[in-house]
Every structure is written in structure tokens, then in C-alpha cells.
């Protein structure tokens, strides 16, 4: 067995690196060989020579960066081990967005699991998280504070539908990140029985088409463009777009919009207030505090490494609960997914 886990994976300025296997996981700079957990742009960057990821993540990178986003690509089948320079790597569903995976790396009886971003609750648009026993678990910490306890997702969608009913003369603009959150909101609206056309911003179009091609039925969608310039077309409608678009001139085409934002950050009132959000929808693609601590308890790793987010609180929790833990201080991840 390897004596030190750092020989198998360690943090470098470019991101997580495996000295034993000479590859990076989710590097923030162009590298020779990159293993990618999921398609969010802070994890999946273009310009690497060789890229290994799930087929869906490779497809999403292709949609975002063009077909030539990397020199070579290799699709990893979920659950199957692949040798990389004597290190065995395998991909396992992470439950974050379509195609997202945890990456397990193993050599000489030592296994480290890099979770990438993950969540534990059901999401109709991607496979659920699968726990993988390991010696070292690298966990994200986006919402690693006891204040983040995401409420029931269906109740949040009901809040939106209730508001649509209360304000039939206004349009509801839902800010949701283009990959994952937007499609999840749409699919959940469908599950809640909303069958009217949902209007989407241009930035969502390709990804929504892709989700549909992967068998995730999003129902009737239409571009949120005013053909003949009539603002009233959108009265009573739900419009989904990337959050940045709603602060921009683009949003002016909608009648007296109710600005909504689907994000785990919406748990904090001040966040909603600052962003001018009228209807916060607390819906996250990351674990909340209970899911993070529950996952660590369930896996029972020898060591926990904590990365991107509020590392200090989760490390403190690990101390209190007798898990060896330390922060990784990786830079360059901006939680695009929430």
C-alpha cells in the first residue's frame, strides 16, 4: 500500500495532480492529460491535450467549446476501471448535473475519490450519486456551513407556480445556470404538472436540445424572443435564462417581470436582496450541510480533503467527529453550477 496519499493525488497550482499517474483532475490550466468530473466551465476547460470524461461530459464540452476543445478525447464508462500510467481510475455518478462523475483513483491498495461537485437528493435530469468506499474522500464545500439546509425542492417549485398564479399579468424570469440547473427547473416544472410553453434564453438552447437528445423530456420550449415586438406575449409566462442576462438590457422585453433566481445561495435573505431577486427559489445542485456531513459519515474515509467553498467549517466538523481532515486550497473554482 502507498504510504502517503499525496503520492497518488496532491494539489498543485494547475489543480489536483497525480504524481503516480501523471494526470490532472479538473485542471484550471491547459495540461497534458486531464480527467474531467463534469461540464461546468470552471471544472471543464478547453485546451488540454488529452481529456478523459464521461461521454456526456465530452459532448457538453464539445457544445460549449467546439469540436476541437482537446487534442484527444477518451470516454470513460461509468464503473469501469481504466489504467493510466499504472494508476487505476474509474468514474462514478456524482448526481450534480447530466454526465457528472466522481473520479476514483487507485494504486497499491490506496483509493482516493475526488467527488468533483455532487449532491445527494433526487434530480430527474441526471443519475444519482453512488457512494464509493475510499481511503481519502475529496469533498467540495460550496455550501459547507450549517446555515445551508436546502428545503424540499418540490416546495420551491410550488412557490414559483403559486406566484405565476398570483401574478398572471407579469412574466416570471427565472435565473438558472445554463448547464444543469436550467434543465432541472424545467423538468421539475413538468413534474409539477406545468405543461405550457417555457421560454428560454438563447444561451440555453443547445444544452436543452442536448438534454432532450439524452432522453430527458423538457416539454414545449420556445426562444424568448419577441417576433413582432409585443411585450404582452410574455404576460403570465415563465422565462428561463442565465442569471447575468436578467440584469442586462435583454430583460426589458418582458412585462413587469418578477425576477426569480434558482440557487442554493437564495437561502440567505441578504443574497436575494442584494441581487434584486423578488422570488428566491432555493434549489441547488450541490450538497447542503447535512448531505455533506452525512456523506462523510456514510463513507467513513480515513481522511477527508476539503476543497472549494467554506473549507474551515467542514474541517471543524470533521475534527469534532473524529475524521482526519484538511483543506486543499485549490483555486479557480467559482461554483458556476449554483
Amino acid at each position: 500500500m502507498l504510504k502517503r496519499p499525496e503520492a497518488l493525488l496532491c494539489s498543485t497550482p494547475a489543480g489536483l495532480y497525480s504524481p503516480a499517474g501523471d494526470f490532472h483532475i479538473d485542471p484550471v490550466r491547459p495540461v497534458e492529460r486531464a480527467l474531467i468530473t463534469h461540464g461546468h466551465s470552471d471544472h471543464a476547460r478547453s485546451g488540454h491535450h488529452k481529456v478523459m470524461a464521461t461521454q456526456q461530459t465530452l459532448d457538453i464540452m464539445g457544445l460549449r467549446y467546439g469540436a476541437n476543445f482537446a487534442g484527444e478525447t477518451q470516454a470513460a464508462e461509468l464503473g469501469k476501471s481504466i489504467e493510466v500510467n499504472g494508476v487505476s481510475v474509474s468514474f462514478h455518478p456524482a448526481g450534480h448535473v447530466l454526465g457528472s462523475a466522481q473520479i476514483a483513483v487507485e494504486k497499491d491498495g490506496m483509493r482516493i475519490v475526488a467527488s468533483g461537485d455532487y449532491k445527494r437528493r433526487a434530480d430527474p435530469t441526471c443519475l444519482g450519486f453512488e457512494p464509493v468506499a475510499c481511503d481519502v474522500f475529496i469533498t467540495e464545500a460550496t455550501f459547507a456551513l450549517p446555515v445551508f439546509r436546502h428545503p424540499d425542492s418540490r416546495d420551491e417549485i410550488s412557490k414559483l407556480l403559486k406566484s405565476v398564479e398570483q401574478f398572471p399579468e407579469r412574466s416570471h424570469l427565472v435565473g438558472a445556470y445554463a448547464l444543469g440547473k436550467a434543465q432541472r427547473v424545467i423538468r421539475m416544472l413538468r413534474d409539477a404538472g406545468y405543461d405550457r410553453t417555457i421560454y428560454i434564453h438563447g444561451a440555453l438552447e443547445k444544452l436543452c436540445d442536448y438534454y432532450q437528445s439524452q432522453g430527458i423530456d423538457l416539454g414545449p420550449l420556445a426562444p424568448a424572443t419577441t417576433e413582432k415586438g409585443s411585450v404582452q406575449d410574455f404576460a403570465g409566462a415563465i422565462v428561463i435564462g442565465p442569471p447575468s442576462a436578467f440584469l442586462d438590457r435583454w430583460a426589458r422585453r418582458f412585462p413587469d417581470p418578477v425576477s426569480c433566481f434558482a440557487s442554493g445561495w437564495m437561502r440567505i435573505r441578504q443574497r436575494a436582496r442584494q441581487g434584486g431577486v423578488e422570488l428566491p427559489i432555493i434549489l441547488s445542485d450541490h450538497c447542503d450541510w447535512d448531505e455533506l456531513t452525512g456523506t462523510i459519515t456514510e463513507l467513513g474515509p480515513r481522511e477527508v480533503w476539503v476543497t472549494h467553498g467554506r473549507e474551515e467549517a467542514l474541517v471543524r466538523w470533521c475534527e469534532l467527529n473524529d475524521f482526519a481532515a484538511r483543506p486543499l486550497h485549490l483555486v479557480g473554482y467559482e461554483d458556476e453550477g449554483d
Partner: protein, 541 residues
């Protein structure tokens, strides 16, 4: 409790008045008694329940979680009640029938001692969701701030029951939470409740602005003129020992003005303007609006303030002469009655708003230009035959305000608006020059977010986006240099001294009257101009 919490959450984040009204009306419709009435009382500030100190609630959380983790959490969230509502966790599964209603909470707390109250709060925290925990904590610690005025809440009741808001205002002071008879009437399942209050509020008569097409109507045979005093409009009612001072929307402000209430030894209802005197000799000397502000929005008035800023009421009208309702009488007759009535009142507390003699409309034009006192806002023109009727009918009473003050200022910051305007930079901070002529710099003097047309808003927004120098969240600072920037012509009603503003002045009712694309910023006004104006208004008083 959870519906109430959701209502609060939405009200806090809904900027538009109409949006708030919809939320309130829907809540009144969907929520049973007594919860809706208690919620209404919580919103209007009429709900008094046992106080639990925030420090006591903090001890509860300290028993339940690691201090360090709590410190990280509190530090991140910033608000104690919100932090506790979010970090609170319980092992007991919540059963739907165990969730307390707002009524349960209020009733239990009414009969609880302070220590019992804390135990109750702890039990409820276990039973509620995060949003309801927050509402509960704000309720019991008395820190409810939701951006809904009592006036707006009454408007929502009026909309809910399809009645005029003046009917609600008239009834309001005889009613108590949870207002079941009121809701029953609004839902048309019971008759209108009789106003039980002694000295009830009577809806106020308001005026409309005088505009050019109406000039021809104004002649000395049909109309009288009065000065429009810039204090606060009040209604004084004394009836069988009960004395009340109401604002024009029916809020009872008696507690803030004991120096008036003490002298209300009459029977009847008067309409007038509450003003503040600056120095008291034998006669009444009117203070500036800034002096009046010393007396507003205070729960308790100190003896010192009573002496330094004594209040008095300048009387406009008589509504009840003893028990006799004379509102249907013509103004001229009410005025005669008022003149007789005022003779029996304490002269340092009450005086008559004088009629301003005129012969022709041209006289009025001259009078309006040069009012004899800075606290005069303009002229009031009242039809001699007018009855006193609630609301704002057009014709019987006109207000004709003095022209506003104007300065040229430089746009320095812009903030994104809310609601319809959330994609526009629509709130503008403007500045004037100060410092030596050779090295002037800009000091902000105010903020305005209306006065411009939709077309001008687009131009302003484009200017802001193209001239941004820095961003802080929703705020952008824009280029404002002697030769590059945007000059705004700002109109305002008056100036006050202000310790809160770096410039030392605060404008009343500022709005943007013109965009001066033609003017280089260096030609905008200097702070000295405002300071001179301030001195003028103070010495004249």
C-alpha cells in the same frame, strides 16, 4: 405560521406597491381567522406579545451546537434571527399537526411568563421550518421590518373587501386584533362594524393640484385663498374626555404630541397643520421643517424637546362643533364657526390659518411668487360653497405649490432599479462642487429616481453603462470630471441641515427635471449655493 412566514418573505423582497397589495389580498382571502388578523396586526405594529431577548435565544443555540460552527455561520449570515433559524436542527421528525399556527403562538405567549416564553419558543423552533422559525424569532424579539406601512395594509383590506380605504381608516381605531368583525364585513358575511372608538378618525378631505386649464375658475367670489403650510396635516378630535391626534391617514400620533393633547379641552373635531415653534415668547414663531423633524417618529418625547421644539396647530377647518356634524355645511359657514371656536382655545397651541385676501387671479400669481414665510409651500384655494368630503374630489379644493428650487448637479453614482426597472440604472446620486476653485471636487448632495421620461431613462442608462469607472454590487460610479460627465438639473422643495450627509445638507423631494447634455460638469453649481439657500430659509423663519 408557515403561510405567515411565506408572506413575510415575499413582502420583504417585493418592491412594487401593487405586488405587495396582491400578496396581502391573497393572504387575507386564503387564511382563516384569527391568523389573518394577527398577521395584519404584526404588520401594522399593533401586536404586542411577550418579549424574548435575543441574548436568551442565543443561549438556546449555544446548548445545541458547536460554538465555532455557530460563529462561522453568524459571521456569514450577519443577522442573528436568520442565522439561528437556519442552523436550528432537530432530531424529532416534524408532524404536520404539531406545527403551531400564528394564533397558537400569540395565544400561548399572552399567558406566558418570560421564562415560559423562552421554553415555548424552543419547542416551536423544533416544530417549524426555517422560514417560519425566522418569522417566529422576529415576532418574539420585536424586530419585524417588512416594508409595509399601515396605510398599505389598510389599502389591501379595502381592495380585499372592495370598499373605499377611507371606510377602513374611519373604523380602524375602534378595532382590535384579530379584527374578526372587520374581516366578516369585508367578506360580506356580516354588517359593517360600528365604530366603537371614542373620538374616532374622520376621513380627511384632500386637494388636487391647480393646473392651467383651471385658472379661469378661480375668482374671489367663488374661492378663498389660504397659505399652504408645510408641516404635517392633522385631525384633532376630543369627545367625552377622549383626545386624539390623527395623521391624515388615520394613524394615531397623540403620544408624540402631549403638548397639544394636554390643551385639547374642547368638544369637536378640527382639521389643521401641525407645526413646530422655534423660540417661544408670547407669540408663535414657526420653525423650519427641519425643526418639525426633531419631533417626528419618536415614541417618547423628552421634556427638553417639548421645551426647545414646542408644537402647535394652525387650524384650517371645523368638522364637528361639539357633537354637531357640520361637514355638509359650506366652507364659508364652517369657517365662521371655526373663527368663533378658536377663541376658546389656548392661543399658544392653536391659531387660525389666515385667509389671504385677493381680488384677481393676478394677485394670486404675485402672492405665490413671494410667500411671506419659508415654511409656506404655496397657496390653497377653497370653494366657498364646498362641503367637507372624504378623499380628493377635483374642484372644491386646489393646491397651488410654489415653484421648486433648481440646481445643476453632476451625476456621480447610479444604481440598478427594482421591479420593472431592474435592468435599468435608474437611481441617481448627484453631486455639486466644493473646495478651492483651482482644485474643486464633487460632494454628493442627494439621490433621485424619478422626474425623467422613459426615453430619458434609456439615455441615462446608456450613459451610465458607457461611462462606468467602478462597480460595487448594484452600484456603478460614473465618469464625473470637469470636462466629462453628465449634468442633471435637479428640482427640490427645500433644504434641511443633515449630519448624516457629508455635504451637511439634505434635499426635500428631489427629482430630475432636465438632462443638461449641453453643459460641461464644471459649470454645475457649488455647495456654497445650497448653503446660502439654507441660511436664507433659516433666517427668514
Amino acid at each position: 405560521m408557515e403561510e405567515f412566514a411565506q408572506l413575510l418573505d415575499r413582502l420583504v423582497l417585493t418592491p412594487a406597491r401593487n405586488g405587495k397589495l396582491t400578496l396581502l389580498v391573497d393572504y387575507f382571502r386564503d387564511t382563516p381567522d384569527p391568523d389573518r388578523g394577527l398577521a395584519l396586526a404584526a404588520i401594522t405594529g399593533d401586536l404586542n406579545i411577550a418579549n424574548v431577548k435575543p441574548a436568551m435565544i442565543r443561549t438556546l443555540i449555544a446548548e445545541r451546537m458547536d460554538e465555532q460552527l455557530f460563529a462561522y455561520s453568524y459571521d456569514y449570515v450577519g443577522d442573528l434571527a436568520e442565522t439561528i433559524s437556519l442552523v436550528w436542527s432537530t432530531d424529532e421528525p416534524v408532524r404536520a399537526n404539531a406545527v403551531p399556527t400564528l394564533g397558537d403562538v400569540v395565544t400561548s405567549l399572552e399567558h406566558a411568563s418570560r421564562s415560559d416564553a423562552l421554553r415555548l419558543v424552543e419547542k416551536w423552533l423544533d416544530q417549524l421550518d426555517a422560514s417560519a422559525r425566522y418569522a417566529l424569532l422576529k415576532l418574539v424579539t420585536g424586530g419585524m421590518r417588512i416594508g409595509v406601512s399601515a396605510r398599505l395594509a389598510k389599502q389591501a383590506l379595502a381592495q380585499f373587501g372592495e370598499v373605499d380605504v377611507t371606510e377602513i381608516e374611519e373604523l380602524w381605531h375602534g378595532l382590535k386584533p384579530p379584527y374578526q368583525p372587520l374581516f366578516a364585513w369585508l367578506e360580506k358575511t356580516a354588517d359593517k362594524p360600528e365604530s366603537l372608538a371614542a373620538a374616532p378618525f374622520r376621513p380627511v378631505m384632500l386637494s388636487t393640484p391647480l393646473e392651467e386649464p383651471d385658472y379661469a375658475r378661480i375668482n374671489a367670489d367663488d374661492y378663498v385663498a389660504e397659505w399652504k403650510w408645510d408641516g404635517i396635516r392633522v385631525q384633532l378630535t376630543a369627545e367625552g374626555g377622549a383626545r386624539r391626534i390623527y395623521s391624515r391617514t388615520g394613524d394615531d400620533i397623540s403620544h408624540a404630541f402631549p403638548d397639544i393633547a394636554d390643551f385639547m379641552s374642547f368638544e369637536g373635531t378640527l382639521d389643521g397643520e401641525l407645526l413646530v415653534a422655534r423660540s417661544v415668547d408670547t407669540a408663535i414663531e414657526i420653525g423650519a421643517f427641519g425643526d418639525l423633524q426633531q419631533r417626528l417618529n419618536r415614541k417618547i418625547v423628552s421634556a427638553k424637546q417639548l421645551e426647545s421644539h414646542p408644537a402647535f396647530v394652525r387650524l384650517y377647518d371645523l368638522l364637528f362643533d361639539g357633537k354637531e356634524d357640520i361637514r355638509a355645511f359650506p366652507f364659508a359657514e364652517r369657517r365662521t364657526r371655526l373663527e368663533a371656536f378658536v377663541k376658546h382655545l389656548e392661543p399658544t397651541r392653536f391659531d387660525l390659518s389666515p385667509l389671504v385676501p385677493f381680488e384677481s387671479f393676478d394677485d394670486l400669481i404675485e402672492l405665490r411668487k413671494e410667500p411671506p414665510h419659508p415654511i409656506i409651500e404655496g397657496l390653497m384655494l377653497k370653494q366657498r360653497s364646498s362641503a367637507y368630503v372624504p378623499g380628493r374630489p377635483k374642484g372644491p379644493w386646489f393646491k397651488w405649490k410654489r415653484d421648486p428650487f433648481i440646481i445643476d448637479a453632476v451625476l456621480v453614482y447610479a444604481q440598478r432599479g427594482h421591479g420593472k426597472r431592474s435592468s435599468y440604472y435608474s437611481d441617481y446620486t448627484f453631486a455639486v462642487w466644493t473646495g478651492p476653485e483651482s482644485e474643486p471636487h464633487l460632494v454628493p448632495v442627494g439621490k433621485a429616481y424619478f422626474g425623467f421620461t422613459d426615453e430619458e431613462l434609456k439615455q441615462l442608462d446608456a450613459f451610465v453603462r458607457n461611462n462606468t469607472t467602478e462597480r460595487f454590487g448594484p452600484v456603478r460610479s460614473v465618469r464625473a470630471e470637469p470636462e466629462h460627465g453628465l449634468v442633471l438639473e435637479v428640482a427640490f422643495e427645500g433644504l434641511n441641515r443633515s449630519k448624516r450627509h457629508k455635504s451637511g445638507v439634505a434635499m426635500r423631494f428631489p427629482r430630475i427635471s432636465r438632462l443638461r447634455w449641453d453643459k460641461p460638469p464644471i459649470e454645475a453649481d457649488r455647495l456654497e449655493t445650497l448653503e446660502a439657500l439654507l441660511r436664507d430659509s433659516e433666517t427668514m423663519g
